[in-house]
C-alpha cells in the first residue's frame, strides 16, 4: 500500500456518548473461550483496527457487536440501545468474514436491494462506482471471483449513510487498486465523523489507517492505543549494524536489555528494551559497529512481540 501515514489526530475523539460499548462481555463455544470479559468503548469518528492472531476472537467480537450472537455474560450496546435496534435504524454497515451473498441475482440487483433497504441510501450507480463494480454490474453474483465478491460485500456495507461501519478482514482477496479505493472511501467516511471498526491481518493497513489499534489474544485485550503507542508498548527498539572480523556471539548475548538477537553474515540485528544502554555496552565490549541503525519496531514486529510475550506468559502459568 502506498497510503500515507494517518492524518487523523487523537484530538477531539472520545467525546460524546460511545458508539459501541462492551461491558464485561464473554462468549464461549463449548470449552473454547472466544471472548473473555471484554470491556471496550468506541467513540464517534474513531477508526479502530482490531488485530490478533487466528482464533483470537476478532470475528466473535464483531458478531457479538452486531447482535448476530448473544453474549453468555455482559452487555453489548450500540448507540445506547441493543444491536438489533441500531441495525433496524439503519445506523450500521458491515462486511462479514463469513457473509454469503444472494445467489442467482445480478450484482446491480443485489446492490439495489441494499440501497432500497437502507433508510438513508446513496444512489445505486454511485455505490457501484465506489466499490469498483460498474463494469461487472450485470454479472451474476455467483459467478464472481473472490476479490469481486469482496467488493460486492463492500458495496452492501456502504449502500447508505451509516454511523458505524464494521469490517471483518474487508480487503482479503482484493487487488492493490481495489484496496486503495477501498481505504480511500473509508477515509472519506471517517472524515464525515463515522466510526469505523475493522479486523485485519494486514498490519500496514492498521498502521496507515487506524487512529486506534486494539490487539486481541485469546479473547482478551492485550493492547489498546494508537499505533505509535502500541509500538512503544512493545517496549523494544531495533538495532542493526555490521561487524568486521570475528563476531563473538556469546559476548553479544550478554548485552543488557537484549530481547532478541539475530546474526546473518556480517549483519547483526538486535531488539532491545533500552537501545541506548545496549549500544553503550556494545562499544564497551570494544567492538566497532558500522552502519549502525537504531529504530522503533514496525507495527508488525510490535504485534509479534506483544502476542508472543502473552503466549509465553500463559505457558509459564
Amino acid at each position: 500500500m502506498t497510503t500515507t501515514a494517518s492524518t487523523f489526530t487523537g484530538e477531539g475523539r472520545r467525546t460524546g456518548a460511545p458508539v459501541v460499548s462492551f461491558e464485561h462481555v464473554s462468549k464461549s463455544y463449548g470449552a473454547v473461550k472466544a471472548v473473555a470479559d471484554l470491556d471496550l468503548q468506541l467513540y464517534p469518528g474513531e477508526t479502530v483496527a482490531l488485530l490478533g492472531p487466528n482464533g483470537a476472537g476478532k470475528s466473535s467480537t464483531l458478531d457479538l457487536l452486531l447482535g448476530l450472537r448473544a453474549p453468555d455474560a455482559g452487555r453489548v450496546e450500540l448507540f445506547g440501545t441493543t444491536p438489533q435496534r441500531a441495525i433496524e435504524q439503519g445506523k450500521i454497515g458491515a462486511v462479514l468474514q463469513s457473509g454469503g451473498l444472494m445467489e442467482e441475482v445480478k450484482v446491480r440487483e443485489l446492490v439495489k436491494l441494499a440501497c432500497d433497504l437502507h433508510p438513508r441510501a446513496y444512489p445505486v450507480e454511485q455505490v457501484l462506482e465506489q466499490a469498483g463494480l460498474t463494469e461487472i454490474a450485470d454479472r451474476m453474483v455467483n459467478k464472481l471471483s473472490g476479490g469481486q465478491e469482496q467488493r460486492v460485500r463492500f458495496a452492501l456495507a456502504t449502500a447508505g449513510a451509516n454511523e458505524l461501519i464494521v469490517l471483518d478482514e474487508p480487503t482479503t482477496g482484493m487487488d492493490v487498486t481495489a484496496r486503495q479505493t477501498f481505504w480511500t472511501t473509508m477515509r472519506d467516511q471517517a472524515r464525515q465523523g463515522r466510526a469505523i471498526l475493522f479486523a485485519t491481518h494486514y498490519l500496514e493497513e492498521a498502521d496507515a489507517i487506524a487512529d486506534r489499534v486494539i490487539v486481541l489474544h485469546r479473547g482478551r485485550v492485550l493492547a489498546d492505543g494508537s499505533a505509535a503507542e502500541i509500538k512503544a508498548r512493545a517496549g523494544a527498539r531495533r538495532i542493526v549494524f555490521d561487524l568486521d572480523g570475528h563476531i563473538g556471539e556469546g559476548a553479544l548475548r550478554e548485552l543488557p536489555f537484549l530481547a532478541a538477537l539475530e546474526i546473518s553474515g556480517r549483519t547483526v540485528r538486535i531488539q532491545s528494551h533500552d537501545a541506548d544502554a545496549t549500544v553503550h555496552a556494545l562499544y564497551g565490549l570494544g567492538l566497532y559497529p558500522r552502519n549502525l541503525e537504531v529504530a522503533g519496531l514496525g507495527l508488525e514486529q510490535a504485534f509479534i512481540a506483544i502476542t508472543d510475550a502473552a503466549t509465553a506468559e500463559e505457558a509459564a502459568r
Binding site: 452486531l66 451473498l101 445467489e103 442467482e104 436491494l113 437502507h118 460485500r153
Partner: protein, 247 residues
C-alpha cells in the same frame, strides 16, 4: 421490502432446474396414477371420477411439496452460506424476509397447479359443471399453499444443513397422514377424527373437496388455515430474528 420480494421471485424463476422439477413432476405423477383410470366410472361413495379426484389431490400435493420442501431447503442453504447473516445486518424487518420467501414460493406453486389442471383436462377430459369451479379450485389450492410456504420458511430456520430434509419429510408425511390425505379417516375413532379436523392439511384438502362438489369452502376450514398462516409466519419471522446460530 418490495425489491426483496421482486428479487426473490426473479431468482426463483431463474433457477430453471428447480422450476422445471417443481412445476412438472406433480403432473407427471398425476399421469402415472390416474393415466389408466376410467374417465366415467365414479369412485365409491362419491359422485366424482378418479381422474377428477386425483387432479385435486395431485395439485394440492404438488403445491405443498414445492413450497414446503423447496423453501426449507433453500433457506437452510442460504443460512449455511451466510447470506442470511448479511441480510440480518440490513434494516429489513423479519416479516419482510418471510413475506418475500412466501411470495417466491407462491410463484412456484401456481404454475404447478395449473399444469396439473391442464394435463387432467386435456388427457383425461376432466370437466366441471361450472367454469367457476376451475377458477375457485386454482385459487383455493394456491392460496392454501401459502400456509405451507410459511411453514417451510419456519423449518428452514429451525433446522440446519443435513437435518433439513429429514425434518421436512417427517413433518410433511406426518401432516399428510394426519390430515387424512392418504387413508380415509372415516374408520378412525371419533376422538381422533376430532383432532384431524384441526390439522392444516385436512382443512386444505377440504377446501378442494368442497369446490369439486360444487359447494363453497367451509368457513371453518378457511379460518383454520388463516390461523395456521398467522402461526407459521409469526414463528418464521421470530426464528429469523432470533437465529444466533452460525449455520
Amino acid at each position: 421490502m418490495n425489491t426483496l420480494i421482486k428479487l426473490e421471485v426473479i431468482r426463483t424463476l431463474r433457477n430453471k432446474k428447480f422450476m422445471f422439477f417443481s412445476v412438472l413432476y406433480p403432473a407427471a405423477l398425476y399421469l402415472l396414477i390416474a393415466g389408466g383410470a376410467s374417465e366415467t366410472e365414479l369412485v365409491k361413495g362419491t359422485h366424482l371420477t378418479l381422474p377428477l379426484l386425483m387432479m385435486v389431490s395431485m395439485a394440492s400435493f404438488g403445491a405443498i411439496t414445492a413450497v414446503l420442501v423447496g423453501q426449507s431447503e433453500r433457506i437452510a442453504k442460504e443460512r449455511e452460506k451466510g447470506w442470511v447473516r448479511q441480510l440480518r445486518l440490513t434494516a429489513l424487518p423479519g416479516r419482510g424476509y418471510v413475506t418475500a420467501k412466501v411470495a417466491s414460493a407462491a410463484v412456484v406453486s401456481l404454475p404447478s397447479i395449473v399444469v396439473v389442471f391442464v394435463v387432467a383436462a386435456a388427457v383425461k377430459h376432466v370437466r366441471f359443471d361450472a367454469a367457476w369451479q376451475w377458477i375457485a379450485l386454482t385459487f383455493a389450492i394456491w392460496a392454501g399453499s401459502i400456509v405451507f410456504a410459511a411453514l417451510g420458511v419456519a423449518i428452514g430456520y429451525l433446522a440446519t444443513g443435513d437435518a433439513v430434509r429429514p425434518i421436512t419429510m417427517i413433518i410433511y408425511f406426518g401432516l399428510s397422514a394426519l390430515g387424512g390425505l392418504w387413508f380415509p379417516t372415516a374408520s378412525f375413532p371419533s376422538w381422533v377424527q376430532k383432532i384431524i379436523e384441526w390439522v392444516p392439511t385436512h382443512a386444505y384438502a377440504a377446501l378442494g373437496q368442497a369446490i369439486e362438489q360444487g359447494n363453497a369452502p367451509h368457513l371453518k376450514d378457511v379460518s383454520i388455515l388463516v390461523g395456521y398462516l398467522v402461526i407459521f409466519a409469526g414463528a418464521a419471522a421470530w426464528l429469523y430474528r432470533r437465529d444466533t446460530q452460525k449455520a
